[in-house]
């Protein structure tokens, strides 16, 4: 009650107590909250991008024509920050090629194509670690790394890296993020309802791996059933050091930094990690995936996705193999004709519009929303001048001044933009959401961030080119000086005899500036003489 009042009158902007500053409360539209998770059939073809995570792209381990088993590793991570890819089912690799992936650019990435054989035979080489409590945490982390697990809340950062132990910053609290503050999305909600036990086991694995003393399951108060189920499951499992925390429903409650502030009252200092305030945050879906990987030996090959939006006849929560083409998934929910439909990959606040439909569902897909063209706000909005109402400042959870920031970004004053903390924007979209002038603020920030990165890169390249160009000039000058020095030396030592030879050499050098070798030869001649 009190936090809500605080929020209502913008007090949390002035004195952030407890919850994070700002935030909005969009209509929830959780139409699929009561639809049980349904398992979808196998599609005729699976498309597996070699990069579905933050970090380095993977290298394929299989060749075209090769038969693979379900769960077999088909692309291995390269570099440290990376996550390998596994075959979602048994079948034949039919191609390695560029294919469009879910990305706002509509561009392609190298993908592995697999044609399922329908038998779905598993690769049984990975044994479950059932007694994980007595296992070395390093081994558990390795298992998580080998299983290609990334943050399934949407950030897709390789999970094992977050679980590294740092002696200086021990993790005290593991937070299980079940806030699911995005409208429409219900996949985490359903996971908690239907797989409470697995989720909690996954959390226990994490807590064991990082040696955390206590755990918090964070759920927004718009999911009372999930709160009750999780409480029951915790009691049944006898985990006394884990508690369920009810959070006020407010977007972006599920943002990692915001969640940490709500739970611990502390902000993650700039440039630091949650680790530095003794916290590790994992999404509910990730916990389930960790459970599967450790306790069942199954790598990350499928996930739960919410299919919703006003263009979908039968909205549902579905459990899908990763790599399933999105049109196939939508067709299973009754949406066949994608003309005049707009697809959003993720939730309406932070999800991206997909310019292409023929893309696979990937590890980061927590929802696919299909809207009629007319009902998608972002298509209709007409930008008007900013009336400086300050609503955007009020709701910004990062404490920015979006209207000023957008002003600088629009005028390509990126230095001023950075003064206004451009890179602290988490692109949550609260500011655009409340703006009465319909200014696409987030779009401006994304544009500016891209431009800054581009300018930075160009500058680095220019510096490199300059260095190379200078090195070349120096080299040419040096060579010339050396040649001249050698020539005069030869002349001095063998003045009469080598006179003729030197002249020939000079002529030759003039002819085709390949001089160096030839001068060498002349020198030898001179030495002999």
């Amino acid at each position: 009650m009190l936090p809500a009042l605080f929020e209502r009158f913008g007090l949390n902007q002035l004195w952030p107590t407890g919850g994070f500053p700002g935030g909005v409360h969009p209509p929830e539209h959780k139409i699929t909250a009561d639809s049980p998770i349904i398992e979808l059939p196998l599609p005729p073809q699976l498309i597996l991008p070699l990069k579905q995570h933050i970090g380095e792209i993977c290298a394929p381990l299989v060749e075209v024509g090769q038969h693979v088993l379900r769960g077999q590793k088909i692309a291995k991570s390269q570099g440290y920050v990376s996550a390998s890819v596994h075959a979602p089912t048994s079948g034949t690799v039919v191609g390695v090629q560029d294919h469009a992936v879910p990305h706002p650019s509509g561009m392609g990435r190298p993908c592995l194509m697999i044609e399922p054989d329908g038998e779905d035979r598993p690769d049984e080489s990975r044994a479950p670690i059932s007694d994980y409590r007595n296992e070395d945490p390093a081994l558990i982390r390795e298992r998580i790394r080998m299983s290609g697990i990334v943050g399934l809340g949407g950030a897709v950062f390789p999970t094992f890296i977050k679980m590294l132990r740092d002696q200086r910053h021990p993790v005290q609290t593991v937070i299980l993020n079940g806030a699911e503050c995005e409208p429409y999305l219900t996949c985490d909600h359903r996971l908690m309802l239907e797989h409470a036990h697995d989720v909690l086991r996954g959390m226990d694995v994490i807590m064991h791996a990082v040696n955390a003393q206590n755990g918090v399951v964070a759920i927004e108060d718009n999911k009372p059933d999930a709160i009750a189920v999780m409480r029951g499951a915790i009691e049944a499992a006898g985990m006394d050091n884990v508690e369920v925390r009810t959070l006020p429903t407010r977007y972006p409650q599920g943002g990692e930094k915001q969640l940490i502030q709500t739970i611990t009252g502390k902000q993650v200092p700039e440039g630091r990690l949650p680790l530095h305030v003794g916290v590790l945050c994992q999404n509910v879906g990730t916990a389930k995936a960790i459970h599967d990987a450790v306790c069942l030996g199954v790598p990350l090959i499928k996930r739960v996705v919410t299919i919703s939006g006003d263009a979908v006849p039968n909205p549902a929560n579905v459990c899908v193999r990763i790599g399933t083409p999105i049109p196939f998934v939508l067709a299973q929910c009754g949406l066949e004709d994608l003309n005049d439909v707009r697809l959003i990959h993720g939730g309406p606040m932070m999800g991206e519009r997909l310019p292409r439909t023929h893309v696979p569902l990937v590890k980061s897909t927590n929802g696919i929303l299909a809207f009629h063209r007319q009902s998608l706000y972002s298509e209709q909005a007409v930008e008007e001048p900013c009336i400086r109402c300050g609503h955007c400042v009020e709701v910004c959870p990062a404490g920015l001044v979006p209207n000023e920031l957008a002003w600088h970004c629009r005028n390509d004053q990126f230095d001023r933009g950075q003064d206004y903390n451009l890179f602290d924007c988490i692109e949550c979209g609260c500011c655009s959401y409340v703006c009465p002038s319909h200014i696409p603020l987030v779009h401006y920030f994304r544009y500016a961030k891209g431009q800054v990165a581009k300018i930075e890169k160009e500058r680095a390249f220019a510096e490199l080119s300059k260095a190379r160009s200078e090195a070349r000039d120096n080299r040419l000058a040096r060579e010339q000086a050396e040649r001249a020095a050698r020539r005069s030396k030869v002349r001095k030592q063998h003045a009469p005899a080598a006179d003729k030879a030197a002249k020939t050499a000079e002529k030759k050098t003039d002819e085709g500036k390949t001089g160096e070798g030839k001068t060498e030869a002349v020198k030898k001649e001179g030495d002999k003489a």
């Binding site: 993650v268 606040m349 929303l369 972002s378 109402c389 655009s432």
Partner: protein
């Protein structure tokens, strides 16, 4: 081809138009009180100003080849209404018209239109009028139903033809001078009495001042500023609707109150009591409807508090030490100048910094 659109794909449904209409709606009680007190004159002025502002805005947009449907955002109509509510009832039509043109052209469109004006257009226009027509702008018509007026028989402002003549041709058409039908406002009265060496308490006593009348609005003043009650109703509506935030009104009024209370405590005979300051003149109107004008006030919450405090200090100082009896308008305009600075130095705390 595609124009790519970034997230978010949802919107809260707020719009400029909705905001402007909300403010207009919130001003309706005050406008109603104006009509109750000043009869047809109030109605004439309000209608004239709203229409004139919209027409001027339309003309400007047309001249500058901007889309003229911008007129639909309601900002010009709001400026007109606000301007009308700050005018004394006895100004003739052409004066009001000049004010409207000044508001839209001088104070708004020359800066680039909606969103770019550094000053509140209605207030800027009022200053133009005050400087150009000081006598008319400080002569307050005797309102209807004001209890302290028994001495002089007031004009019947509910009579259409009387009002029409007054509005159209000025008081001379009624065979009277301006000073025969006008009186001093409480603030003006206190100021004159001070200059004669009489303290505020004494001055109020001989003015027959009552807090209740001031709260309900039964006193002399500009059309819309007299009734604190009606203005509060509108202000609360705006706060509840989240069109404005509490920062500016609260800090503005509280500052005036605290300053007045301090000085009144030191010398109760000379300085006017705090409640008088809050209810008098245009403070409530200014704090809820003028200082909160989004375009010309700071955007950050802390900045808004500073802005309100600054307005409060200036208002009280001008009322107490300045040459004009009323300081709300000048203080808001002065603080408007400081907005870029305030916005720059009072940004919110960035997460994690």
């Amino acid at each position: 081809m595609t124009l790519l659109i970034s997230s978010p794909h949802a919107h809260g449904g707020d719009s400029i138009r909705a905001n402007m209409l909300a403010v207009i709606l919130a001003l309706l009680p005050a406008a109603g009180v104006a009509v109750y007190l000043f009869g047809w004159l109030a109605l004439f002025l309000i209608v004239l100003c709203m229409l004139a502002c919209m027409a001027t805005e339309w003309g400007c947009l047309k001249l500058m080849k901007r889309p003229t449907d911008r007129i639909g955002d309601g900002s010009a109509a709001l400026t007109g209404l606000l301007l009308a509510l700050t005018l004394p009832a006895a100004v003739p039509w052409w004066m009001a018209l000049i004010g409207c043109v000044a508001a839209i052209v001088l104070a708004k469109q020359v800066y680039g239109g909606l969103g770019h004006n550094p000053f509140n257009p209605a207030l800027a226009a009022r200053v133009v009028l005050l400087i150009s027509f000081p006598l008319h702008m400080t002569s307050w018509l005797m309102p209807m139903h004001a209890p302290m007026l028994i001495a002089i028989p007031p004009l019947n402002l509910y009579d259409f033809s009387t009002c029409w003549q007054l509005f159209w041709f000025g008081p001379e058409a009624l065979g009277k001078g301006l000073d025969a039908i006008t009186m001093a406002s409480p603030l003006g009265h206190v100021k004159t009495e001070w200059s004669r060496g009489i303290g505020a308490i004494e001055a109020l006593r001989n003015y027959d001042y009552s807090y209740l009348d001031a709260f309900l609005g039964r006193e002399a003043g500009s059309l819309g500023e007299t009734s604190a009650l009606a203005l509060l109703l509108g202000g609360i509506y705006l706060l509840a609707r989240h069109t404005i935030t509490w920062h500016i009104p609260l800090s503005f009024i509280a500052t005036v109150y605290v300053l007045a209370a301090l000085f009144n405590a030191v010398n109760p005979e000379h300085f006017a009591p705090p409640l008088f300051h809050v209810l008098a003149g245009g403070l409530v109107l200014g704090a809820f409807f003028m200082a909160t004008d989004p375009v010309s006030s700071p955007v950050t919450p802390r900045g808004q508090l500073i802005f309100g405090i600054g307005c409060g200090i200036l208002t009280w100082s001008i009322r107490t030490f300045g040459g004009y009896p009323e300081g709300v308008m000048f203080s808001i305009l002065l603080m408007n100048c400081a907005v870029p600075l305030i916005d720059h130095y009072f940004r919110p705390r960035v997460y994690g910094k």
